[in-house]
Every structure is written in C-alpha cells, then in structure tokens.
C-alpha cells in the first residue's frame, strides 16, 4: 500500500543525475561545504527566467581566468579540477597565486576584496569568491554529464570564449550552447510530469476548497490541505512535513518576499560545516543546533507561516516516530503515546529553547567580534567592546582559546560573523511572528492544546488505534 503514497519530493530524478551529482558533491573537494544545495538549484533550473545565469557566470569566470593567464585547456582543467578542498578562501588564494605569476594582469581583470572583477569596456561584471565553489562544482558536473559524453564538447566550447579584452556579448554564445545542453539534460533526467502533477493537486485544492479560488497560502490552508489529502483519498500525502515543504516552495514562487536577501536565503548552518569551521565549537549538536535546524533551513518562510511552522516543529517528529515504530514493529505503547501526541513538545517550550539558543548565538557573535575587531581599530562603542571581551572570556569552547586567531581562523570567524547575524536576525523575526500569532489565538499554550487534539485525531485516522 505504501507504493501508492503520494510523496511530493520523491522519485523525480534519474539515477544518472543523482549518481553524478553525488559523485561531485560527496567527493573530498566539496563534502560538507554546503555547495550541494547551490549546485542542486542550478541543475534543477531554479530561478525562473534566470535559471541559466550560473552557466553565464561560469563563462565569465573562464573569461576572467584567461585575463589572469589561465588561457589553455591544461591550466583551466588544473584550476577547475585539481583543488583538493574547494572553499571560497581556497579559491581566492588560488586566484591570487595565479595572478601573482603574471608580471601584470590586464587592467580589465582584477581581484577585488569580494571577487574577480571584469570590466567589459565600461560594463562591470563581478564574480564573488563565495559563489566560485558552486561554479567549480558546476564545471565538474557539466564535464561529467551523461557519463562524460559531453566532456569533449564542453571543453571545446569553453575554448571559444575570448581572451580579454572583449565585449560582454562575446561570452554569451558559449554560455548559450552550454545552457542549451544543460536544459536538454534537465528535460531528460528530471521527472517533470511527476513534480508538476504535485503542483496540479495543490491547484485543484485551491479551486475546490478556497472561496473564490484565490491562491492565498496561510497557516490554515497548509493544515487543511494536509487533513484533506493525508487520508481517504487516492495516493494520500501522509506526512505533514511534506505538505509544509510543498506550500513553502509554492509561496516562495507565488508570493516572493519583498526583500532580496530573504528571497535568496541560504541555510547559515552550512557555514558551520565548512572545512576549518567544524573545528570551532559554535553550536552543540543536540542542545543548540537541533532546536534551530529546521528554522534555519526554512529561513524567512518560517516567519511567514509561524503557526504552520510550530506545528511542523512539534508534530512532524511525532509523526516520524509513529511511522518508524510501525515500520519496525515497535511496541504498541510507544505507538499509542505517539498517536496521542503525548510526547509532542509544547509550543511555549519550543520557543523558550529557541530563545536560549538565540542568547547563546548573541554571545558567540560578541566573542567572534572581539577576536576579529577587538583592538583599537574597532568602531564599536567602548561599552560594546567591553561586552564582547567579557563574552570571549566566558566561552570555554574549542576554537576560542586565543583572542588573536591565525589567518585561517580569522577567515572562519569572518564567515561566522555573517552567519551568526543572519541566524539571530531570523530568530528575532520569527519570534515576533509567533508572538503576534499567539496573541491573536489565545496564547501559545491554547494553540498547542487545540493542535494536539487535531493532530492526534488525524493520526488516529492515518494509523488507527493501536491494539
């Protein structure tokens, strides 16, 4: 019967696609760098009308490299395929080394603070160092397309990209040819019909169940869709988390956030997994990272659907427990407790935990600030500098032994600084959304109590009363 379960995000890609993607991303070069998420978005063609912008960016990078002296296939392959660990810092260092080998780089290609800058006769194009690992992964993926069938043509196409100086338009023909090949690959290797069928199902829901058929996504629509489609229909969508993700995807497309930085959200926890960062004890796994992991993954969308997200945090783990207990034949008492949602974490408790992690992150922010800017050059007020110094002194964690870190650690701290700011900002925004929602719904405790009854009733429909 499980074969009939309609799962929104499964069985969409061919084994060739997944195999090549994993071969690139799970290699020593990219493992644990967070590049996988970006490469997946490029391969799948996320980004609407700009879905091929990464290919164009890659071609600009090849052009810029030519300006630094990487003009032949040999040096290009060395740059794209031979780095052992591909991180923004490593790529930046490699580019500096390459540039240093030339007596004088052409004036229209320069290495700036944030990235490689190309001046196309007045039109400026910049490729940020932090984008480059994804472009290098894309290069490797494209070269391995269809088991290497495309490699020769790909290399030949890159050879047609002119050496600077050139007009910006001269890079586009090569980008167009490569993008077409990627589009064809996408078309053949992704099960579009299946994914689009999922979309159609949501569209039908709006037509049938929302007055006027308006596509307005809110907390209640997400819950209502789940209750209607998780039981008693052909191909039920059982998992609440699956439904939540689908609606978040739809909302991101149909109701994009106003601010660009929200639209381009990337999980800041990825930064903590970067090589060099993992040796620093910013968050303890179970007590500090896990309680905010989903929030960081979904980013601003959690704040857009605060009630739906609270439901996700409290009841999705319970549903997983029920499903696993049934699958592995665990005791009926464990199933009964889960179906009754007896172990669901109350919303107030979940938010209190998030609040504690937020305070910890703020302390970390100050400590990192102290390590990076704690000297006289700091522009912060004396009070803040004193707070930052105290925060640093109070931390007993790996990586915070010295207030004067070496260059590698400084680089990791600089990455952390941005990630910590995004994390605390996200948590603050989310807490405000939850406060507003709680105030209009009689408080978090009342919301939780009502939801526990609703979820327990639905779980009983899905899984039955344990005998």
């Amino acid at each position: 019967m499980d074969d009939d379960i309609f799962t929104l995000n499964r069985a969409g890609a061919s084994s060739d696609l997944i195999g090549q993607f994993r071969a690139v991303i799970e290699s020593e070069r990219f493992a644990g760098t967070g590049v996988g998420r970006r490469l997946a978005a490029i391969i799948a063609g996320m980004g609407g009308r700009n879905k091929d912008s990464a290919v164009l960016e890659l071609c600009h990078l090849v052009h810029g490299l030519a300006g630094l002296g990487v003009r032949d296939g040999r040096r290009r392959l060395l740059f794209f395929l031979s780095q052992r660990r591909v991180t923004p810092g490593a790529v930046h260092a490699d580019l500096e080394r390459i540039a240093g080998e030339r007596a004088a780089a052409p004036a229209n290609v320069t290495l700036g603070e944030r990235g490689l800058v190309i001046d196309y006769g007045g039109e400026r194009f910049e490729i940020w160092y932090r984008r480059m690992p994804a472009l290098i992964a894309l290069f490797e993926f494209l070269m391995g397309l269809d088991g290497g069938v495309y490699a020769t043509e790909f290399v030949d196409t890159l050879d047609t990209i002119p050496v600077p100086p050139a007009a910006v338009g001269e890079v586009k023909p090569a980008a167009g040819r490569i993008a077409k090949r990627l589009r064809d690959f996408r078309q053949h290797h992704i099960a579009w019909a299946r994914h689009q069928e999922h979309f159609d199902r949501i569209a039908m829901y709006f037509k049938k169940h929302v007055p006027g058929g308006d596509w307005i996504i809110d907390d209640n629509v997400i819950f209502d869709f789940w209750t209607r489609h998780s039981h008693g229909v052909k191909k039920p969508i059982r998992e609440y988390e699956t439904v939540f993700r689908a609606f978040v995807d739809l909302a991101a497309l149909a109701m994009p956030p106003d601010q660009d930085d929200l639209a381009d959200w990337e999980d800041p926890l990825d930064v903590l997994d970067q090589p060099g960062a993992r040796e620093i004890g910013v968050l303890k796994g179970a007590s500090e990272r896990k309680p905010i992991a989903r929030l960081m993954e979904h980013g601003p969308n959690a704040g857009r659907f605060p009630h739906a997200f609270l439901r996700l945090e409290s009841f999705a783990p319970v549903q997983s427990t029920v499903a696993n207990a049934r699958r592995f034949g665990r005791g009926t008492e464990a199933i009964r407790r889960s179906v009754a949602c007896e172990d669901a974490v109350p919303y107030g408790e979940a938010m209190a935990t998030v609040g504690r992690v937020r305070e910890h992150l703020r302390t970390m922010q100050k400590a990192v600030y102290h390590c990076l800017y704690g000297d006289a050059r700091s522009r912060a007020t004396p009070e803040f500098r004193a707070e930052a110094a105290a925060a640093f002194r109070g931390i007993r964690r790996k990586g915070f032994e010295s207030a004067e870190p070496d260059a590698d650690r400084r680089e990791a701290f600089a990455e952390f600084a941005g990630a910590l700011t995004r994390m605390t900002g996200l948590i603050d925004g989310f807490r405000k959304s939850v406060e507003r929602r709680g105030a209009s719904a009689g408080g978090l405790d009342a919301m939780f109590t009502r939801d526990r009854d609703l979820f327990a009733a639905q779980f009983r429909r899905l899984y039955g009363e344990p005998q």
Binding site: A13, R22, S27, R37, L81, G147, G148, A151, T152
Partner: protein
C-alpha cells in the same frame, strides 16, 4: 511558469536529500578521473580503470585530460612517412622509431629532449582506436636522450603505426 518552477524546486530538494544516502555512489567525479590522468591520485584506481575500459565517452574525456596536462603532446605524424612507425616532433622533443635488424620482433624508440635541463617525462602514452590508452614507462634521460624497447606487434606499437594516433609524454 509557476508550475515549472515549483517542479524545479522539488527536483532540487530531491538532489539535496540524496546527499549522504546510504546507497553507494556508483559514478565517479571528473576530478577523480583528472587525478588519475595526471598521476596526482598516486596509486592505481581500479574503479576508474574499469570505467575507462567500458566507456568510449569517458576515454575521450580522459584523453583530453591527459593531452591537456602532458609535458609533450606530439602532433599527428606525416602520413607519407616511409618508416613503419612515423617519427614525430615538437619544439621541445622528437621521437623516432627503428625496427631492429637482428631481432625484427623488437622496435627501438628514441626520445630526444631539446632542453636537457627541462623536467623529463616519465611515461609515454599513445591512444589507440576509440581512445584506448596504452602507457609505457620511460627510463631516466641520459644527456637528454631516452631509449626504450617495444615489441613489434604489441598494442602500443600497432597504435604508434597510426599517424593520427594521439601520442604524449608526461
């Protein structure tokens, strides 16, 4: 458009969720092939060799990698050569072949490095039909000259007789 973009997000998520799956990764990356082609891997990679043996496309890619990182990449030989194995030459090296009169089952290959101070190659690789690579270790140079003995009728010599075969030193 919305429908397509929705599907793209779902497809991207599926890829991300595949990372770290317990199922073994059956393909290998181009950087691994490149490490093999350049000798950076440091040891034989049986998976890569088996995949190369099975896939003409992969061999073509591999040939490009080997060519791109070669110390010497000889051009095609002159088709009108009267030698059974045509000589080849670049700005930095020359390679010629001579069949032994006393022992016709042997062929002498002589590599002349035009700059004896340059870093010497350690392997000769010739790509045969469908880019099948055949590698032969080179001896240390003596005064910029390296000499090796090949077997007439061997796969390597058969490939070398083809003036269009790709021949490199690395």
């Amino acid at each position: 458009m919305l429908r397509t973009d929705f599907a793209a997000r779902a497809a991207a998520r599926e890829l991300v969720e595949s990372i770290g799956s317990p199922e073994p990764v059956t393909q290998f990356s181009m950087s691994r092939l490149f490490a093999h082609a350049t000798g950076a891997a440091g040891r034989p990679d049986r998976d890569v060799e088996a995949a190369l043996a099975a896939s003409p496309a992969l061999r073509a890619a591999y040939r490009r990698m080997v060519e791109a990182t070669a110390l010497v990449a000889f051009p095609r030989a002159a088709a009108a050569s009267d030698q059974p194995i045509p000589a080849r030459e670049t700005d930095t090296a020359r390679i010629s072949f001579k069949r032994s009169r006393q022992r016709p089952e042997l062929v002498y290959a002589v590599v002349e490095l035009k700059d004896p101070q340059a870093s010497p190659p350690t392997e000769m690789v010739v790509f045969g039909a469908e880019d099948v690579p055949h590698g032969v270790a080179l001896p240390a140079p003596d005064g910029g000259i390296m000499q090796l003995i090949l077997e007439w009728g061997s796969d390597t010599v058969e490939c070398l007789r083809d003036p269009n075969a790709t021949l490199i030193l690395r």
